[in-house]
Each structure stands twice: as C-alpha cells, then as structure tokens.
C-alpha cells in the first residue's frame, strides 16, 4: 500500500469512528436538556431521575467524542499537508471558528452542568446545559461549512503563483448551497439517533424490568419515539432537497449512487440490482420508473446525467483520468442509509403502536427491536457520510484538487502505517470499554435521588465527583 491508501484508510476509520459519537452528542444534549426543563417547570421528579440517567449515558458518549475528536483537528496537517496548504486560506477559518465559538461553549458549560448541581441555582444550572447543546449544534454548522467547500467550492479564486485556493467571499462559503442543504439534514439525522437511543433504552427498561420504574420510562419512551419519527420525516424532506442540490453541483455522485451509466429522461430509481455494477452485466433489477428524475430535478421527466457522458465531459474539462467514484460503494451505501433510516422509523412506529394506552409489549421480537433500534439511525448516519465522501472521489476538493495530490509528500509509509495501526488498535479497545460502560449504566436503571442538602454546609460531599 502507498501513503495515499493508508492515509485514506486512516481518515475513513478515524472519522467514521468519531462520528459514532457525534450525532448522539448533538441530539441527546437537547433531549436531556428537554427532560431537565420538564422537571424544572413541573417539579415532577420522574423527569429529574430521567435527566440524571440519560445525562450519565450522554457523558459516557461525550467523553468518547472529545477523545476521538482531537485527532480530526490535526490529521489534516499530518497526513494531508498538501491539501492543507492548498485550502488552508479557506478551510482553516471554519475550523478555527468552530473551536472558538462552539467547542469552548460545549466544554466549559458542560463542565458547569456536570459538576454544578449543588453550585448553581436550578435555572442557571439548566441554562448551562442548553448553552452546551447550542454549542454542539453550532459546531455542526461550522464543520459542515468546511466540508461543503470540499463538495462544492465557492467564494474562492485560484492563485496560480502560490498554487492555492484563496478566499474571496466568506459569506458565500458560509451560505454554500450544499451547506444549507446538509446542515438541516445532519441535524435531523442527529435527532433520529438520539430519539432512537432514548426510545430503545426506555422500552427495554419497561419490558425487561416492568416492576422497576416502568411508569417513569413510559414518557421517556414516547418522547424518544416521537422525536425519532418526526426527525425521520425531517430527513426525508431535507434529503430530498439535498438530492436536488447534489444532482446540480455533483451530478457524478448522483449517477454513481444510481449506477446510472447513460443519460436518462425520465430516469428510474433503482431499488435493487443483482449482477455486476460496472455495467457489463445485469442479472436482475428492480426499479421505480421516473422516480430518480423527480428526486434529482423535481419533475418526473427531468434528465439525469449518466456516468459515461459525465466522464467524457470531465475528460474534456480536466484532462484524461477516471472521474467516476467507486460505484458499488456509492450505490450500496446510499441504499443502506435509506434502508437503515426507514427501518428505524418503521420500528419506532410499531413500538409506539404497541404501547398505546399505557400498554407494555411483551413479545421477544419487540425486546430485540428495542436493542437494535439505536443502532439503525447510527448506521444510517455512517452510511450517509461514507456515501457523501466516497461519492466525491477522485476529488478531495471537487473539480479543484484530486485526493491523490493532497497527501503529505514528506510522510513515509512506515509513519502512516504506524499511526493507522495505533489508532485502529486503540479505538478497538476503547469501543469495548465504551460499550461495556454504557450497558452497565443502562442495566443499573434510574438512579435514586440524593436527599436535598444544605447548600451552606461546606463539608458536604460534592453532588458529582470523578
């Protein structure tokens, strides 16, 4: 393997892994803040116990997010130094702003929330969590601004003398149409993860321990399931919008997502293809007529470009080369994303139905579904991003810089191989620790509330301590 392959594997592994934790952090910070708000407004202690229970799970997850997040900030420079030199004038700004505006908010106010139960007045303490939640959402906006530039470079000019892209319009970068489509899609995607997590954990508790706090988990389950379904609808609407933007600015990605080789008007949506995807042989396929035209262009007869004609056009424009991404990966990750998200919604709806009127379901299938449920939107998020990033290939910045040109020229195979092996091994160990801890705390159930303490007692134990 060459440095390029190793660096790509490392970026893929570390980023996909990091992103297991991010959507849950973003969505769950808001849901836990909502639970605490319900307690603050009603005084109903069930919500306080739920806040503490899901808050603890949230923090276990958050710790993994920050631990794996530091790598993200630095591996551009380590493995992709030529990329960093080429785009730094544009790409660095949203990263720096993300740190300054979002990460400081998140870290400081979460610290205040975790340790501040007995130090801050209840309203102020609650506000700290909402501010931290705002920080997580802000961070999504800025990092997506950086990524959207890679998908659809705007607001720049190419400086041939310095061989780099230079910022000319910051506003254009921050209102990139890919960003405006991706941000809402990502945020509702985060809420699907958090909703499914809360619903799955709560339903499991209700079914597994019906005589332990089932009536407290009931409203948590409903909250999670409703959030999952509403956010699921949100991903469909925003995804539709995003698909149209993608067809416009990255038609090759859409063509690859469909395995569509020839221009078609109207174009069908391929549900399933059995056979070879390089177009040489098709054994069996199932498709819905005209749907792709609608998804891509908004009309049932719109033309969707195919891989072959785009390849010819790009060769004219950029010179000889292969401009199609890996078609099987793009084709299947696109479908896997939709399938996983759709299954999560179906399962959530079935669970809501089975708990109508205060019922508690008892079938073994429902118990299994509750366990699998949180994994489905998480998988949908991962597949969606693998699709987005693999579909951009062979470019690291679409139309401007091929991925192969971005890799660090001075870095050796041994160095990248070492770091790839080290991160993979470390992340593997951390995964085991993380899952065990989560299961352990889920299994424990709701915590008992401490008796109210005298705030002036300076020798009283801390409300929370490491």
């Amino acid at each position: 393997m060459e440095v390029l392959d190793l660096a790509r594997w490392q970026f893929g592994i570390t980023t996909v892994y990091h992103f297991f934790f991010v959507p849950l952090t973003i969505g769950l910070s808001v849901l836990v803040a909502g639970m605490q708000t319900a307690w603050w407004r009603t005084g109903d202690e069930r919500w306080l116990r739920l806040t503490k229970f899901f808050g603890k799970l949230f923090l276990i997850n958050f710790a993994m997010g920050i631990a794996t997040g530091i790598v993200q900030e630095f591996q551009f420079g380590m493995n992709w130094s030529d990329y960093s030199r080429f785009v730094g004038d544009i790409f660095g700004a949203p990263l720096a702003i993300e740190g300054l505006l979002a990460f400081f908010l998140e870290s400081t106010f979460l610290g205040l929330w975790i340790f501040g139960w007995d130090r801050l007045k209840p309203g102020l303490h609650l506000a700290c969590l909402w501010i931290a939640a705002l920080g997580t959402v802000l961070s999504a906006y800025f990092i997506l601004a950086a990524n959207s530039f890679m998908q659809n470079p705007v607001g720049y000019t190419f400086n041939a003398e310095k061989n780099r892209a230079e910022l000319t319009d910051f506003g254009a970068v921050m209102t990139n149409k890919v960003l405006l489509a991706t941000f809402p899609h990502q945020i509702v995607g985060c809420f699907m993860v958090a909703g499914a997590f809360v619903a799955g954990v709560a339903l499991w508790q209700m079914m597994r321990h019906p005589d332990r706090d089932a009536s407290t988990f009931q409203p948590a389950f409903r909250l999670g399931a409703v959030v999952l379904l509403v956010a699921g609808l949100g991903t469909m609407i925003t995804g539709d919008f995003q698909g149209k933007v993608m067809t416009e600015v990255q038609p090759m990605k859409m063509a690859a997502a469909e395995g569509l080789y020839d221009d078609a008007a109207p174009a069908p949506f391929s549900l399933l293809t059995v056979g070879t995807l390089d177009g040489s042989e098709e054994v069996f396929k199932l498709e819905i007529p005209k749907l792709l035209s609608f998804l891509g262009t908004g009309t049932f007869d719109g033309e969707v470009r195919g891989i072959d004609s785009l390849q010819a056009e790009y060769e004219q424009k950029y010179g000889p080369g292969d401009y199609a991404p890996n078609v099987p990966v793009t084709y299947w990750t696109f479908r896997a994303m939709i399938t996983a998200g759709g299954l999560a919604m179906l399962a959530g709806a079935a669970m809501l139905w089975s708990t109508r009127g205060g019922r508690t379901p008892s079938s073994r299938w429902m118990l299994r579904a509750a366990i699998v449920l949180p994994l489905l939107p998480m998988a949908a998020n991962s597949f969606g991003w693998i699709f987005t990033e693999m579909g951009r290939q062979p470019w690291v910045v679409f139309g401007l810089m091929p991925t192969a040109s971005g890799v660090s020229p001075s870095t050796s195979v041994a160095e990248v191989a070492t770091s790839l092996a080290a991160f993979t091994a470390l992340y593997g160990v951390l995964a085991v620790i993380e899952v065990r801890l989560l299961l352990r705390y889920i299994g424990k159930g709701l915590p008992e509330l401490d008796p109210p303490r005298d705030r002036d007692d300076i020798d009283a134990p801390l409300a929370f301590a490491y």
């Binding site: 551009f76 730094g88 951390l430």
Partner: protein, 331 residues
Amino acid sequence: MDLTTFWFILIAVLWVGYLVLEGFDFGVGMLMAVLAKDDRERRVLLNTIGPVWDGNEVWLIVAGGATFAAFPEWYATMFSGFYLPRLLILIALIVRIIGIEFRSKRDDAAWRRRCDTAIVIGSVVPAVLWGVALANIVRGVPIDADKEYVGGLLDLLNPYGLLGGLVTLSVFLVHGAFFVGLKTEGPIRERAIELGVRAGVVAAALTTLFVVWTAVRDGGTAVWILGALVLVAFVLGLLSAVARLDGWAFTGTSVAIGLLVVMLFAALFPDVMVSSLDPLWSLTTTNAASTPYTLRIMSWVALAFTPIVVLYQGWSYWVFRRRIGVQHIPV
C-alpha cells in the same frame, strides 16, 4: 500593526493559554502517581481539575485551528514534519481523557489502577513532547525549499530540544503541585506544596539553563529580558510557596510559563519555523500566511469572541473556587 504580526501574537496567546491551563492539568495528572496515598486522595486530585480540564484542552484545538487558518504552511509543515511526536501526543491525550472520564465509573480497584496509569502516562508524554516540539521550532529543523520537513525523528532529539522537554515536564509538575495547594485542604495540600518546592529547585535550574541557552542562541535584548522575567516569576512563585502564599505561588508559575512561551515566540519572530538547512527556506509570518482578506475576517471573529470566552471560562473557575478535601468525595 501588520495582520500577519497580529496573528502571530494571537497564536502565541493561544499557546500561552493552553500551556498555562493544561500545564497544571498535566501536573495534577503526574501527581496522581506520587502524591496521593489512597483512592480518596487520588479522587481529590482528579476533582481539582474535573470541571475545567476539558475547557483547558480546547485552547489547543483553537491554537491548531488558528494556525491552520492564519498560517496554513506552518500548520502543514509542523504537523506533517513532527509526525511521530504528534502521534504520540494524540494517543496520550486520548488515553488521558478516557482515564479521567471513566475512572470513577467503575468501583473496581484494578480498573482504577489502569485508569491512573493512563492519566499519568497521558500527562507525562505531552508535557515532555510539547517542550521538545517548541524548542525545536525555535532551534530550527531540516526544512527544504518546498517547505517540507526532510529530517527524521532523531533530528528532534537534540540536546536543546530534550532540555526543552525536561523544562516543560518539571515546570508543569511544580505548576500542578501549586494548583493542588491552592485547590485542596488537609494533609494533601501540605504535601503538594512541599513536593512543589523541592521539584521547583530542579525545575528552576533546568529553566535557567534553557533560558540562557535560548538567549545566547538568539542574542536579542528582548529575549534576554523575557528570559530574566521568566526566572524572576518562577523564583517568586517558589518563595511564595515556601511562605505558604498559595495564590501567589500559583500565580508565579502561571506567569513563568506564560512568559516562557512569549520568550520562545519572541525568539522565533519573524520566522514561524526555522530551517536549519538554509535561512532562506525558513517559514515566516509572511510566506506562510493566509491572504489579508482571510486574516481580516478571522481578526474580527477573534476580537469579538475571545474576550467572551475568557469571561465565561473565568466564571466557571469562580463557580468551582472552593477547596476540596477528602470529606467532599462522595462514597
């Protein structure tokens, strides 16, 4: 002032913030190995930094992001060039975070011992390597005409670089001890200050050697003055500790670390990375910088938000200002 100079100063400020704040986090982490006698005392130590360590670490993330935005060439050369040390730092920071966050999540002595090891290693390794890295940036490393690092790992392990690593290691240990002296009560506070003073003598000797070496290499008056101030602040901190003035002791080490960073950046300016092969190949605030347009936008963002960050981070320190003793650790 030139925008590139302004950003050079701002990045220096971010490093000052990072190393002053995370410096005592690292120090407290190292003290887990030597100062605490039992699990409750270890938890006292850990909880002195509990609410704040994560916010402290963000200074590094922002310093990295700001370097990327303002001096992309610097960011690219530094991180791809110092590849293996950087990898070690990242792994150490990850391991430390997991140790801090997950230690008390299980009531199991073997688990907690493993987490303690993680915290100690995760504190020692970056404390040494940041010093090695900063010293080498100032000293100069093999950088070619294309701004690429062409040396190996051994090029970084020269006497000056290693001394820099020992200085940050020992100074952070003292800084952490004085922080514990300020934030705890009971016997552990006494032991922390005593240990801090004893280690402080070694740290002062190492720092003196390093400061003089840096000033002689540089030859500039500013570096000599800054170096002298580093030593004055550090010694005053030590004397305050002997007099049991906890606040002044910690202030002394904080100012000393801040000035040490300022001294190194002053010695560096107007370069941002010195090439040991040919001075013409050094990266400078000019040839490594982003466009004036980007710098202008980033300046507005930084001027508007940095004071706000400092305010609310300061407030969080105020909220958790109480000293912690073993009686505060919940069972």
